[in-house]
């Protein structure tokens, strides 16, 4: 079971709600993914109760809603959005996204740390989105982050896991769950993250813009479970060179038997 804060979850697949071709399709995809943690941008939620459709009405009931602070470019904005999100949705879970860079949508490490620290003190369960930076991950853990969410590659690129070496270090060192977020373009990427020992993954673009989001959600759901099972079972060791199956000439240590 995945444990975040004081809650436990069967599913290790988190899903994002942006970019879908319709709210109906989004809702169905979320169900198909069996996800229990669903993230939504506060900036997409119409707080005015206008008569236009509200994205929240399309999220399956019973899941853990994870509002995010997308749109925030510094810690103050993220804190402000987090408080609005809490008031609007009633949950104290918040995914911190502090993204000052509109080109690659890479998160700001300094302000993410600042916002996390402030919001933890204010009673939030904080899940910060970060670059795959092991030291930053430890610093966030120290100030009370409930998870760390390092990226596999920039958001919306579907490039897969390009931060492999750093992710391995983060996973090795972490005392909080590690959720690989962003860039997972195909189920095999998600499976790979899980095989590495990630506790969960977050997927959005790859499902939302797929030709068939429902089937893709299924694919990811299976892949995440497959990767997790393999990780728990213990992956067989792979060697980069063939191991000699019989003793061969020992040039280096030959002197040992030369007397």
């Amino acid at each position: 079971m995945l444990k975040i804060g004081n809650k436990t979850f069967k599913s290790r697949l988190m899903v994002g709600t942006g970019k879908f071709s319709s709210l109906e399709l989004m809702g169905k995809t979320l169900i198909e993914s069996k996800s229990e943690i669903i993230t939504v941008s506060l900036r997409r939620i119409d707080l005015s109760q206008g008569d236009r459709r509200n994205i929240l009405d399309f999220i399956p009931s019973g899941v853990q809603l994870l509002p995010n602070t997308s749109g925030a470019r510094n810690a103050d904005e993220a804190i402000k959005l987090a408080k609005l999100a809490r008031a609007a949705t009633g949950t104290n879970w918040i995914k911190i996204e502090v993204v000052p860079d509109p080109h690659y949508l890479l998160p700001d490490p300094i302000d993410t740390l600042r916002a996390t620290e402030a919001l933890v003190k204010d009673g939030f369960t904080v899940l910060p989105y970060i670059n795959a930076d092991p030291v930053l991950a430890k610093r966030l853990e120290d100030v009370g982050a409930a998870t760390v969410m390092p990226l596999g590659s920039p958001i919306g690129t579907n490039r897969g896991i390009k931060t492999l070496e750093m992710l391995k270090i983060i996973i090795e060192q972490a005392r909080v769950p590690v959720v690989v977020d962003a860039g997972l373009g195909r189920p095999s990427d998600a499976a790979m993250a899980m095989e590495l020992g990630a506790d969960a993954v977050l997927v959005n673009t790859a499902m939302a813009v797929s030709n068939n989001p429902l089937e893709m959600a299924k694919g990811f759901e299976l892949a995440v479970r497959a990767g997790r099972i393999a990780y728990v079972a213990g992956l067989p060791k792979t060697n980069t060179q063939a191991t000699p199956s019989s003793p061969i000439d020992s040039h280096l240590t030959g002197f040992l038997s030369n007397n």
Binding site: G18, K19, F20, S21, S22, L23, S41, L42, R43, R44, I45, D46, S48, G50, D51, R52, G71, A72, R73, D76, E77, K80, L81, L84, P100, D101, P102, H103, Y104, L105, G156, T157, N158, T205, A208, V209
Partner: protein, 372 residues
């Protein structure tokens, strides 16, 4: 250091590009995050025309990856057509004897409330440019009104303001700034801008930087299609974007290329931009700047808007009036330019949904604007 356009340099660069067709597939299959200037020029060359389908397909892929299948919806409100400039292509030019009108605070409030109640949350406030921009307080209070009524994103299109004026607009609650260079071609620029502050080419060009210094973190730029050679305009704009991105890494730039159409007293276009050319340009910008929002107004036809929305456009205006006010009180004779796509909001929403696109009215939070 300011950004400058060197006409001969741009012209020579366009000529020097190797436009070999074989390049196109190579460019479109590039695994890089973005393409080079040379590649951009190849994509917008005349030689690329036969490959438009392939170019559009690549643009579509990148649009979907980066922006998904959602399309932003906004509406413009013209505040005033009192203008102290003489632009030969515009019906509001000081030389034209049209009825002038600046909405009063009360009228602005009535129009905005009407618009808000129809479901819009993103508004573009537009005003003709008075010299010296003496009416900054007028514009600022229009922004403040929009914020008070509940709009979540407020764009300002008021001409090339100075830094302090930009800062006032930002603090009043405007989150994005719109400034068209009209044309980057200096000679043409001087020929079509006969009178007023807008006559100063470099002042206009530097306006974007001043808006950013004033605090804006979202800026829309573009040129008016039809005034000069489109390749010249596109390369100039490309370079302006590159310059701005390098110097302001944390600002989001958006693109819009409106085309000249008939307005009262306006000149005819000497370099008409065809639908094919517009499609090619917007697609090439998408491929060069996958992250960039692209806007398209109702001055284009329904067919073209539907087509380009599938390919690269991410934000559409709707039900626009280009007269001051016009949503509650109609003032037909004061139009700045005529509207082609007159679909109602309901129809536009249905049309988008039919092709698997989700119209989005709110994708910003007013609390991220201005001071708090």
């Amino acid at each position: 250091m300011t950004f400058k356009i060197f006409t001969e340099d741009i012209e020579a660069r366009i000529k020097s590009v190797n436009k070999g067709n074989t390049n196109i597939s190579h460019i479109l299959n590039s695994k890089k995050h973005s393409i080079s200037e040379e590649e951009f020029l190849t994509l917008i060359s005349e030689e690329a025309n036969p490959y438009i389908e392939k170019i559009a397909l690549r643009a579509k892929q990148l649009t979907e990856l980066r922006h998904g299948l959602v399309k932003g919806i906004y509406i413009p409100l013209y505040l005033s057509n009192i203008c102290h400039n003489d632009c030969t292509y515009c019906g509001f030019s000081i030389k034209n004897k049209v009825r002038r009108k600046a909405l009063t605070a009360e009228e602005i409030s009535i129009e905005l409330t009407n618009i808000y109640n129809r479901g819009y949350r993103n508004i573009l406030l537009v005003s003709a440019e008075r010299n010296g921009f003496s009416d900054i307080d007028y514009l600022k209070s229009a922004v403040a009104l929009a914020k008070k009524i509940g709009f979540q994103s407020i764009a300002s299109e008021f001409g090339a303001v100075d830094t302090e004026q930009a800062s006032k607009l930002k603090r009043a609650g405007s989150d994005s700034f719109v400034l068209y260079q009209e044309t980057f071609h200096v000679e043409t620029y001087n020929r079509v801008h006969l009178f007023g502050l807008k006559k100063e080419y470099q002042h206009r060009l530097d306006g974007v930087t001043r808006a950013i210094e004033g605090g804006f973190q979202k800026v829309t730029l573009g040129f008016l299609g039809g005034l000069a050679d489109y390749q010249f305009e596109a390369l100039s704009l490309y370079r302006h974007f590159k310059y701005l991105q390098l110097n302001h890494w944390d600002v989001q730039f958006s693109l819009s290329i409106p085309r000249l159409n008939d307005a009262e007293g306006a000149i005819k276009s000497s370099y008409p931009v065809s639908d094919l050319t517009l499609t090619k340009l917007l697609s090439a910008f998408r491929i060069s700047f996958p992250e960039m929002p692209i806007l398209l107004s109702t001055r284009e036809s329904k067919e073209l808007r539907d087509g380009l929305t599938q390919i690269c456009v991410t934000s559409l205006s709707c039900e626009s009036k280009t007269t001051p006010g016009g949503y509650v009180q109609s003032n037909e004779e004061l139009e700045q330019f005529s509207i082609d796509d007159t679909r109602s909001l309901t129809t536009l929403v249905n049309d988008l949904e039919k092709v698997g696109l989700e119209p989005v009215f709110k994708d910003w939070q007013i609390d991220l604007n201005g001071e708090f």
